[in-house]
């Protein structure tokens, strides 16, 4: 499979009044054409920030990429001109946002919001052709085409998210970034959306970055998984590599252990000890070391490299025996 | 620019040209038409279509005198004597009466009948000839509006037409200053038939008179436009178009003069007049006015009954300082509340002058008075008036002898109510006797008025009696003596405190000439000329 997106050693920080937030700290991420990558991590791990970085739409004046490259289809996003960026966004890479309630413009009909994508990227299409495409995509996401004249507030959360998906997909992008598309939704609706994404992936062959903190979603949908902690990817591999649950980063193990099981009747859960590190004041060494049950002196001093075993890479000294791999 | 309001006037202009010259030949006054004739024809070619803009500071109170119960005010003289003519003309410079619409007039011995001979060549602005009928009708409007006229011509009966050029006015009781009344802006000649045709509302909409200027257009609060009356019996005035523009803000007035938006300003503050004088191309004319600024005491105040306190105040206030410094010497101190030269006013030196400025004496008076150091006297002035500034100085003067005074700057209507009802300590007001008579004095002390009835000062009875006597005393000597007695009482008991005679001013640019400031308010625009 061809490499579509390659993020190399990305550093992003937010310069706020109070402090500098180190949101992304040296992320490497490769996504191939047609592949679904799951990006998992707790709140504040830097998932959204990474995604925004790919589109180069970090909040102006606040968000700053301090280091690294984002190479999309051979071109560095960070060096693109405004025009190139605008042409890339939506057409080649599009994004579904976390909160369907607020990510649609409340005063523009959903039809027009979908149509805008075509207007921006397929200037040659006639009005009728565009209207046809809008109808098609709405049908695809399961919304009656005649409802395109309605406004976002007239739709339920699930439908809004489907409209978000329709917007993202109408230009048939090569890469779709879905930022927690189901977190705000009910389980039953969430299942519908996941079903839809699966179907799209199958039918359109779109590459996908699925951002979530729900390990269940990843298991169901993705080919590869990257686990993020404090702005770093600490583990990456195929779904199988990770869900085998034999060799995992201690953090990943911790995540798995926190989730109550449906089939066991254990009385207590095993949460990860301690709290997420403060992104304004990152510790030296492995970011996870003060919560890690396997911590050694070395962890506090030195940030582990990525150790690789086939497709499986882990940033933890426990897997030093695997041998150093490409950075992640 | 806005002179198209009256369509009829344009049609008339051709024929009226001849009428004008005819009239000019027959007139008897000294308007100097010969001398100005050449000049006027010359200038009219350059300025024929030019409008003379005059800036005034407030709205005209009543554009048709006698049409209703609203008094024309002093400040309206400018327009009233442009649109209308009185029966007799009062020259405020010489203080003489001269023939006007009435070529001759006289009265019987007891003053109960007045006989007028009228001009035969006077036309209204609509071309109607003025008749004796019009004059008598106009006079007979007086009793219909008692509120305005009672105070100005008490005892008026009615007027009757004798023949085409003669009328007789019958007085129920004689009034000594009736002559002055016939020369005042309270009594001008209106067109009877026109009124009957359009009613008073129509008349107010488009007034018609016999004056040198015809009404053209008006916007309430903004301007009154006038055009020269070609039919005017004294000849058409030199300036053909006049616009009176209401500019309430003093700075805007000055700026408008400087930019040429207005050509003439009336009654600019002395301070600003001095400045205009310094600018090239502008002229200022000053004249001491008959209007006097004086202090009065409220009938419900301590001051009404406490002579010592009144005297203390009178001695504490320094009119000269106000005159010389605040008014830069352009106002004049007076010894009584009536300006010299006014009808029946006793000569200076023949009456007891007002309490002079003397701080020591003031303190002594104060010590003998009922004033307590915690008392705060209220000084009433109309907000935004010149008196506000003067009041501040007086406050300072009173402070010097230990009297606390607070200024109450209030709107005109509250001012009149409070002064009328006597609910104040001190009030400050500038007034011109509207009849150029000592009428101010008797107006204050005529029994029956609310303010007089309310007050309790010592000489009240005597003042009331004298006031009534002054109304009907036809003999000037005797009448002057009555006023002398009244003024003596007033000054001895400090019933009023006259401060100074005001100053009338005109500021104008180099394009106009012949503008004279006069002591009174009956200014004649008709005499002004383009340069």
């Amino acid at each position: 499979m061809k490499e579509l997106l390659n993020i190399k050693n990305l550093y992003v920080q937010y310069n706020t009044d109070e402090a500098v937030v180190h949101a992304v700290n040296g992320v490497d991420l490769i996504v191939h054409r047609g592949e679904a990558m799951g990006l998992v991590g707790e709140t504040g791990a830097g998932k959204t920030t990474t995604a925004l970085g790919i589109l180069n739409i970090l909040p102006e004046q606040v968000g700053e990429i301090t280091e690294g490259d984002i190479v999309y289809d051979g071109k560095n996003v960070l060096n693109m001109s405004k025009k190139e960026l605008q042409a890339m966004r939506g057409k080649q890479v599009s994004m579904i946002f976390q909160d369907p309630m607020t990510s649609l413009n409340p005063i523009i009909t959903v039809g027009n919001q979908i149509d805008e994508m075509l207007l921006l990227h397929f200037k040659e299409l006639t009005k009728e052709q565009r209207a046809q495409k809008v109808d098609d995509i709405l049908k695809l996401v399961g919304i009656p085409a005649e409802r395109k004249h309605e406004y976002p507030f007239q739709f339920s959360g699930g439908m809004k998210q489907r409209i978000g998906i329709a917007i993202a997909l109408v230009c048939q992008p090569d890469l779709l970034i879905a930022d927690e598309p189901t977190t705000a939704l009910d389980v039953t609706i969430q299942a519908q959306i996941l079903q839809l994404m699966k179907q799209l992936k199958r039918e359109l062959g779109t590459a996908l970055i699925m951002i979530t903190h729900d390990l269940g979603i990843v298991a169901e949908l993705c080919d590869n998984v990257s686990v993020m902690y404090a702005g770093e990817i600490v583990e990456t591999g195929t779904v199988e590599d990770i869900y085998q649950r034999i060799e995992n980063h201690p953090y990943t193990t911790g995540l798995f252990n926190c989730i109550p099981k449906l089939d066991s009747n254990e009385k207590r859960l095993t949460p990860i000890a301690g709290y997420m590190v403060d992104p304004t004041d990152l510790p030296k060494g492995c970011k996870f070391h003060d919560r890690c049950p396997y911590v050694t002196d070395r962890c506090g001093r030195e940030n582990p490299k990525a150790y690789q075993n086939g497709t499986h890479k882990i940033k933890c000294f426990r897997y030093e025996s695997w041998g150093e791999g490409d950075s992640i | 620019a806005c002179l198209t309001g009256c369509g009829g006037s344009n049609n008339d202009s051709g024929s009226s040209g001849t009428a004008s010259s005819e009239n000019g030949g027959s007139k008897t006054d000294d308007s100097g038409s010969d001398a100005s004739g050449a000049g006027s024809s010359e200038s009219s070619s350059a300025n024929a279509d030019r409008t003379l803009n005059i800036g005034i500071s407030s709205e005209i109170s009543n554009i048709v005198p006698m049409s209703n119960n609203v008094a024309v005010a002093n400040r309206d003289g400018l327009i009233v004597f442009a649109l209308y003519d009185p029966l007799i003309w009062y020259d405020t410079v010489t203080n003489t009466l001269s023939p006007w619409i009435a070529t001759e007039w006289s009265h019987n011995d007891d003053g109960s009948e007045w006989y007028f001979t009228l001009r035969d060549d006077v036309y209204f602005h609509n071309g109607d000839k003025m008749t004796a009928e019009d004059v008598a009708w106009s006079l007979n409007l007086i009793p219909e509006n008692p509120v305005v006229t009672d105070a100005n011509i008490p005892g008026f009966g009615h007027a009757e037409v004798v023949d085409d050029t003669h009328i007789t006015v019958y007085m129920d009781t004689p009034f000594a200053a009736a002559e002055n009344f016939f020369a005042s802006y309270h009594m001008v000649i209106l067109d009877k038939s026109y009124q009957e045709e359009v009613g008073w509302d129509g008349y107010l909409d488009h007034p018609i008179g016999t004056g040198p200027y015809k009404f053209a257009d008006r916007a309430t609060g903004s301007y009154v436009d006038m055009e020269a009356n070609e039919l005017y019996w004294q000849g058409e005035p030199d300036i053909k178009k006049v616009s009176l523009r209401i500019l309430p803000d003093a700075n805007s007035q000055l700026l408008s003069l400087e930019t040429g938006e207005v050509d003439v300003l009336q009654n600019v503050s002395i301070e600003n007049c001095k400045r205009i004088e310094d600018i090239d191309g502008f002229t200022v004319d000053y004249e001491t006015a008959y209007a006097v600024l004086y202090m009065r005491w409220g009938s419900n105040s301590k001051l009404d009954t406490d002579q010592n306190l009144r005297k203390a105040i009178a001695a504490a206030v320094d009119p000269d300082a106000i005159n010389n410094v605040y008014n830069r010497g352009y106002t004049k101190a007076v010894g009584c509340m009536i300006a010299p030269g006014i009808h029946c006013r006793p000569e200076d030196g023949t009456y007891t002058p007002a309490q002079p400025y003397d701080v020591e004496a003031a303190k002594e008076f104060l010590a003998n008075s009922t004033y307590e150091s915690t008392d705060v006297l209220s000084i009433l002035v109309v907000a935004g008036s010149k008196e506000e500034g003067v009041c501040k100085i007086i406050q300072g003067n009173l402070q010097d002898i230990g009297i606390n005074a607070e200024m109450k700057a209030i709107d005109g209507s509250t001012y009149s109510t409070l002064t009328g009802e006597g609910d104040f300590d001190i009030s400050l007001y500038t007034t011109l006797p509207s009849l150029y008579d000592c009428n101010l004095i008797y107006q204050y002390y005529t029994p029956g008025t609310v303010s007089f009835e309310n007050s309790k000062f010592e000489g009240k009875e005597e003042m009331g009696r004298l006031a009534l006597a002054s109304l009907t005393e036809m003999d000037e000597e005797a009448r002057t003596d009555i006023f002398r007695q009244m003024i003596n009482i007033m000054n001895e008991e400090a019933l009023m405190l006259p401060l100074y005679q005001d100053c009338n001013t005109f500021c104008f640019n180099g394009d106009v000439t012949n503008i004279d400031a006069i002591p009174g308010t009956n200014v004649r625009i008709a005499e002004w000329k383009w340069n």
Binding site: E18 | N272, V325, K392, A409, I410
Partner: protein, 280 residues
Amino acid sequence: MSQMGLIWLRFRKNKLAVIGLVGIVIMILICFTSPLYISWDRVVTQDLLITNQPPSVQYPFGTDQFGRDLFARVLRGGVYSLSSGFIVMMGALVLGLIFGSIAGYFGGMVDIVIMRLMDVFMSVPNLLMAMTLIVVFGQGITSLWLALALSSFPALARTVRSAIMTTRSAEYVDAAHIYGASTTKILVKHILPNCIGPVVISATIMLGSTILGIAGMGFLGIGIASPTPEWGTILSEVKDVIRFYPYLGIIPGTAIALSVIFVNFMGDGLRDALDPRMKK
């Protein structure tokens, strides 16, 4: 660090806001200490021999048309101007809090009636209000205060109302209900303190507009009575001669402008500091 501390931190980062705060504090200090070295006599004593003097050593700001020391008048005038602004603001604040919280907390019919009433108050021009109050209660600083407070409190009441309506449904208010707190306690301890942000902002801005409002009334002759040396009054007293003695106007004008600008800078800074959305 407390909430206040954080706000202060954000506030401090805003240069203009700090300038505003420092500026207004300096003005307050200068003006309010002036009675210590400027006697009332110096403020009101007239000397007609030295009218309209330009600035000099003896009269740093010159003298006005009554020969009064403008320096003394402007400094002492600040006491009146600034405290007027403050008093009107407090008055409007009290009224606004009362009406706004009643309308916002109880809602329904009470809300509708109060808000209609506020509409009525809002459409009476403050000038008319001042003029009539002056006529009824007599000219004086209190009438002006009352008029300005009456015509400006509806805006505050609205702010308070909408702030309360959003705060009212916060979960911590429910929590207070759940441990039996009374309505008054909930309003005073839990709701109002959390509405204070937008209210404080409107109030600071009101401070500036009050100072201007009094000056405007002075222009129309319904300002504070002489010889009280309020800035607006000083300015309107000289308005007719201002062109020829510009310093008479420039000095009180600058005082007004500075105080208004400072107060507004401060208000803007507070707004930004209180509203995390604005943060950089």
